[in-house]
């Protein structure tokens, strides 16, 4: 698989965020798998280096259960704590601080949810939390909608990357607005990571073809019938989409153009 005729980008196209280099442009979540073993098998198959985790209360009645951390070794994966489930800036800041203490870095995937039904972000609270956490030295990766103005404000507030959704969290609807995503990418200096909504490999490929820096996904893998195989498909799709973007696609036309010579035909 390392044959460069098969994948000329192998090892040569790192994703850069806050001056740190990641070997894969695919970031994966660890939620909703059937077991820790299945989680790790899928993550390995995805090739992802950065992996998100949530912060929750220890179940005191089952504290001897094996922790997820036993399976996600820090030498193998870069753990990115999230603030999923937080509805206010204060809560998100509190979870971010706990995540920093639990982990080995001050990176955070910042979520401040504004609505339970759609899980769309509360952009005002998101901006506030981004400012506070950036000032505390965090590397903040905020999950946001695909609105350009919010994305620009997040960049101004110190976000290390901006993570717009493809479609609602867990929906699997794929990339609903490629135009907005391209617009964000063209206007932001920080990396753009599409987060949420990707359902299958073609969604991931199409998303990467827009020129974004990476994709974060969870449910598309965890809710597949065979997570490990889907993770593998996603790894290839992200690489394929990235390569197609870098290759520069042909222009589209609304009429046919022959591929074979029009000269040299028999009389």
């Amino acid at each position: 698989m390392t044959d460069e005729r098969i994948d000329p980008l192998e090892g040569r196209d790192p994703m850069m965020i806050a001056e740190r280099s990641f070997s894969s442009r695919l970031i994966v979540g660890t939620g909703k798998y059937r077991s820790h073993e299945e989680t790790v098998e899928a993550i390995r198959a995805s090739g992802a280096e950065m992996v998100t985790v949530a912060v929750r209360r220890v179940d005191l009645d089952a504290s001897k259960q094996e922790s997820l951390l036993h399976h996600l070794r820090p030498e193998e994966f870069f753990l990115l704590p999230n603030t999923a489930g937080c509805f206010t800036a204060d809560d998100a800041i509190r979870y971010a601080r706990l995540g920093r203490e639990a982990g080995l870095s001050s990176w955070v995937k910042l979520e401040v949810i504004g609505d339970q039904e759609t899980l769309l972000p509360d952009t005002e609270a998101l901006l506030e939390a981004t400012r506070v956490l950036t000032a505390e030295g965090f590397t903040v990766l905020p999950y946001t909608n695909d609105d350009l103005i919010t994305a620009l404000r997040l960049e101004e507030a110190g976000a290390a990357a901006v993570m717009p959704l493809a479609s609602p969290i867990g929906s699997g609807l794929g990339l609903l607005n490629p135009l907005n995503i391209r617009l964000l990418k063209s206007r932001l200096s920080v990396p753009v990571i599409v987060d949420a909504g990707v359902g299958t490999a073609s969604d991931a490929c199409l998303t990467m073809e827009q020129g974004v820096d990476g994709i974060l996904m969870n449910t598309a893998l965890a809710a597949a019938e065979r997570p490990e195989l889907m993770a593998s498909a996603m790894r290839l799709a992200v690489r394929a989409g990235r390569a197609a973007y870098l290759a520069g696609r042909m222009p589209t036309r609304e009429w046919a153009v022959p591929s074979s010579p029009s000269t040299g035909m028999l009389d």
Partner: protein, 66 residues
């Protein structure tokens, strides 16, 4: 004395440290973060910080999430 851990009230001996509380709860301190009355107790300080009557603890860990 009474303390609250993860929303549940429980008895704990006076004079014990936060580390002793974790030991009693059979929790590996390397796997969790402890918040005491809304402030994080650094892992290095777990054996130095004394539990006081009425303290409220949140003990959290990393779990699967997206």
């Amino acid at each position: 004395m009474k303390v609250e851990v993860n929303g549940t009230s429980r008895e704990f001996v006076a004079g014990g440290s936060v580390l002793a509380l974790l030991v009693e709860l059979e929790i590996d301190p390397r796997m969790v973060v402890v918040e005491r009355n809304r402030g994080i107790v650094r892992r290095d300080d777990l054996d130095r910080v004394q539990v006081e009557d009425g303290d409220r603890f949140e003990i959290v860990q990393f779990v699967g999430g997206g």
